[in-house]
């Protein structure tokens, strides 16, 4: 036991695979362990932002400032520059060092390299993106099938009119061809529009107002289909930096999907609820439907492999992909749950500290990083 205690006293500091530094109130590193020196290089008499991030001035949202202020332990994910100038991801614990007098002169920063995990996470995201592309292609195929049915129908009706010298029938068939060609044109335009993408316009917006607008858009349609559409919005929900049109698009997609899911369900009473709330620093939008009377396996398939809308007037199957793309641009995530006989919940979660900056601010942040 004694030898172990001795090792802890003498060796632990330099043997742990965690980079530890001690920062004073001027944000200079006054002590560091071997792992830190190996990872970040020379640290003596240098400020933390320079060593960790290669910056010339203090970071925005500095966790150390906050811990100096309130004496609370903080855990964060950060990116930094290691010795070779490579970008690294690390999980940092900000541990306050209190003197018996209550004074807080230092913070111990303990950083664990999580780059390998982050790389895996990115690969997983990429795989998900590819899966979404697969779904889109399947969706496109369904859209094309409907168009083909219309075109083949037009050809048949026209030919039938021709055989029977029925000019009215011929005209009818010709009209079907005409209309379906116009639909293909719209379909292709929408698809190209998506492929092109758009630059998000980030402003301070009211999440509830977007939800209200989307509700207004579908209120009548839901009523016609015999589906109850409601909102459940947390009052006084704080404004958020978001691309209003983008979030609008996401909610339109989710509500539209939920209504479609209700439409193919065979339950007599069906409802869709669009809700907003704040949950531990995360802004949450949720679209819940209780309309699906399908068993779990099928429901999963319906949401991944099926395309329930028909014709260009009811979408192009890009909904899920578009939604994922926009949400990711906002640093958020899309998730869903389905339970047999209970329906489905689609959730958009936006951690507020990961929301994008307005265009000008984002630029200056970039300059800082490259300049440092």
């Amino acid at each position: 036991m004694e030898d172990l205690r001795e090792w802890i006293r003498q060796e632990l500091w330099d043997q742990v695979p965690v980079a530890i530094s001690v920062i004073d109130r001027s944000f200079h590193i006054i002590e560091a362990n071997r792992c830190f020196a190996n990872t970040y290089g020379e640290w003596r008499k240098r400020p933390c932002y320079e060593v960790y991030k290669g910056r010339t001035q203090r970071c925005n949202n500095c966790a150390a400032v906050e811990t100096f202020e309130d004496g609370q332990l903080r855990i964060r994910e950060e990116t930094g520059l290691i010795r070779e100038g490579l970008q690294t991801y690390y999980l940092v614990h900000m541990v306050p060092f209190f003197r018996p007098s209550g004074e807080l002169p230092y913070i111990i920063e303990m950083s664990t390299d999580i780059t390998a995990h982050k790389v895996l996470e990115k690969e997983k995201l990429e795989a998900e993106r590819l899966a979404a592309v697969g779904q889109t292609v399947a969706g496109l195929a369904h859209g094309i099938k409907n168009l083909l049915m219309g075109l083949e129908g037009g050809v048949y009706v026209f030919k039938s009119g021709l055989h029977q010298a029925d000019s009215e029938r011929m005209l009818k068939g010709w009209g079907m061809l005409d209309e379906n060609i116009a639909r293909i044109s719209t379909f292709v335009k929408e698809f190209l529009e998506f492929a092109k993408g758009r630059v998000p316009q980030v402003h301070l917006v009211s999440p509830n107002r977007i939800a209200q607008q989307v509700f207004g858009l579908f209120e009548h349609k839901a009523e016609l289909a015999g589906i109850t559409l409601r909102t459940n919005l947390q009052p006084d929900l704080p404004y958020a930096l978001m691309d209003e049109d983008g979030i609008h698009t996401c909610l339109v997609n989710l509500v539209s999907n939920a209504l479609d899911a209700c439409e193919i369900s065979d339950r007599p009473s069906r409802s869709v609820v669009l809700s907003t709330r704040e949950e531990g620093g995360t802004l949450v939008f949720e679209v819940t439907d209780d309309g699906t009377g399908m068993d779990y396996e099928v429901k999963k398939r319906v949401f991944t492999n099926f395309f329930t809308t028909k014709g260009s007037d009811r979408g192009t199957g890009l909904g899920l992909l578009t939604t994922k793309k926009i949400v990711q641009e906002h640093g958020g995530r899309v998730s869903y749950e389905s339970a047999e006989g209970e329906g489905s919940v689609f959730r958009l979660q936006f951690p507020r500290d990961r929301l994008p900056h307005p265009v000008e601010e984002a630029k200056s942040e970039m300059l800082c990083k490259t300049g440092g």
Partner: protein, 140 residues
């Protein structure tokens, strides 16, 4: 073309909310000697049933007002109508246009028999007509 000369034409109810599909199937079936009626949704179709019982129904799954699946369930639960054969004609299929997952879904509904046929849009005209003829001639 006219396979039913001399006998009362068989009546087929076409249920689809796409007017083009209705026109297409109407023309195709009429050209082959069938009488047709049509409905744009499940509710209209239920009313049609009260007017006169058809010999066969072609049914789309995704429609506003009342879904095709709900209509199908009601039909197969009604002793007066459950013997009418149903051909599902839909663009809703599985991945890559594979109809199997959807057929599987329809077949796994509790207490409801599977539909008599399943056609993925766009239909194969010959196959479709063959299935229609087979089903209406079986039912005497």
């Amino acid at each position: 073309m006219t396979s039913q000369v001399g006998i009362t034409p068989k009546k087929i109810l076409i249920i689809d909310d796409e007017p083009h599909v209705v026109t297409y199937l109407e023309t195709l079936l009429q050209d082959n000697g069938y009488e047709t009626v049509s409905a744009a949704n499940g509710r209209e179709a239920s009313e049609m049933l009260q007017v006169g019982k058809p010999d066969l129904i072609t049914l789309d799954i995704t429609m506003p007002e009342q879904s095709g699946i709900r209509f199908y369930r009601n039909l197969k639960e009604d002793p007066a109508f459950r013997d009418i054969p149903v051909l599902v004609v839909t663009a809703v299929t599985g991945y890559g246009g594979d109809p199997e997952p959807f057929e599987h879904f329809l077949k796994n509904r509790r207490q409801i028999p599977p539909p008599e046929g399943f056609f993925s849009k766009p239909i194969d005209q010959d196959e479709f007509l063959r299935a229609v003829e087979e089903l209406v001639s079986q039912k005497v």
